[in-house]
Symmetry: C2
Subunit: 195 residues, 2 copies
């Protein structure tokens, strides 16, 4: 039950992510689901409402994914942890590509009606992620696995690494190419921070 509602959201996620909010007509979404346009209004108040519904859900998934990062890395060496986070990010882009594309697009280019909410959401994610990384670095320093360098340097450069990889992942869709980039970038990063 509620099959159609779910399918509408899936199609919307894909199309909004691929062609943008203004570039996607409700008729296309309906067509993908095999239903006429007005049927959408049985489930959503408006186009904006459908979009927001997709948006909220994708932010919530994205949120869980970041939370899970903190868990993943329990009980490993600092190097393994830092590497595991990048691999997780990679898996996210691989396995939830549509969601990743959607999130990436609207994190960078939100439509006007989303701007405030988006900035707030982005700020939250950024803080969460920074905190997770900072904690890992803190522990790494205490354990003597990291070079003695101001912790903010460690955090900032790691976050920059993640951002850089996420752009490249978006572009170079070939797994081989990306895996090479990931390997190279991490090896060099680790050279810079290891004790």
């Amino acid at each position: 039950m509620d099959m159609t509602r779910t399918k509408l959201k899936e199609a919307a996620l894909r199309l909004f992510g691929q062609k943008g909010y203004d570039g996607t007509a409700l008729s296309e979404i309906a067509k993908e689901v095999g239903v006429k346009t007005p049927a959408i209004y049985a489930f959503f108040e408006s186009k904006e409402d459908l979009f927001m519904s997709v948006f909220e859900e994708s932010m919530s998934v994205y949120n869980e994914y970041i939370q899970a990062m903190a868990e993943t890395s329990k009980g490993m060496s600092t190097e393994k942890k830092l590497h595991a986070l990048l691999v997780r990010q990679y898996d996210f882009h691989r396995n939830k590509r549509e969601l990743a594309v959607f999130a990436f697009r609207y994190l960078l280019f939100p439509p006007d009606f989303l701007l405030d909410r988006m900035q707030e959401a982005f700020g939250r994610f950024d803080t969460m992620l920074s905190d997770i990384i900072r904690e890992i670095m803190q522990e790494g320093l205490e354990r003597g696995e990291l070079a003695v360098v101001p912790i903010e340097n460690l955090v900032d450069s790691y976050l920059t690494l993640m951002d850089g990889l996420s752009i490249q992942y978006y572009y170079y869709q070939s797994p081989e190419l990306f895996e090479r980039k990931l390997k190279h970038a991490f090896e060099m990063f680790w050279r810079s921070v290891s004790a």
Copy 2:
């Protein structure tokens, strides 16, 4: 002379960059210039033509900017060169913000009719930039200013650094914050590659 044409392109650059192709109505562009919508057709065949005109010009400026990178760095130490390139990228985003936003948006999310041309343009830039970086790294290795590490590692990790910074530059518009990020990220990067 041709004042209006120029102003139309400026307004289009800003609005297309800010709100996207489908999200920008010709009427908005006209309004910014203080002219009625059909006046646009005195200079451009269609909305797509106006967009392409803006696009071609911005790609050409972007091209010059990358070319100039190769020059900028002549006769410096490898460290200075690599740092200078990042600062140049930063200046570009600062001084040509509208152009940078436009280019960033359509490099990542081109409208359908641009996809092929965009991919080709992107490929060219990517190759140009890689070549420039590779050359710098090559020379750095020969001069013994760089750690003995496979050159592709050096290139890939530097490109990842640039990408990461360009995302952050897009977000964190505060210069102080960004300059800090740049400083931290470069310091760490240099630790990893210096001899």
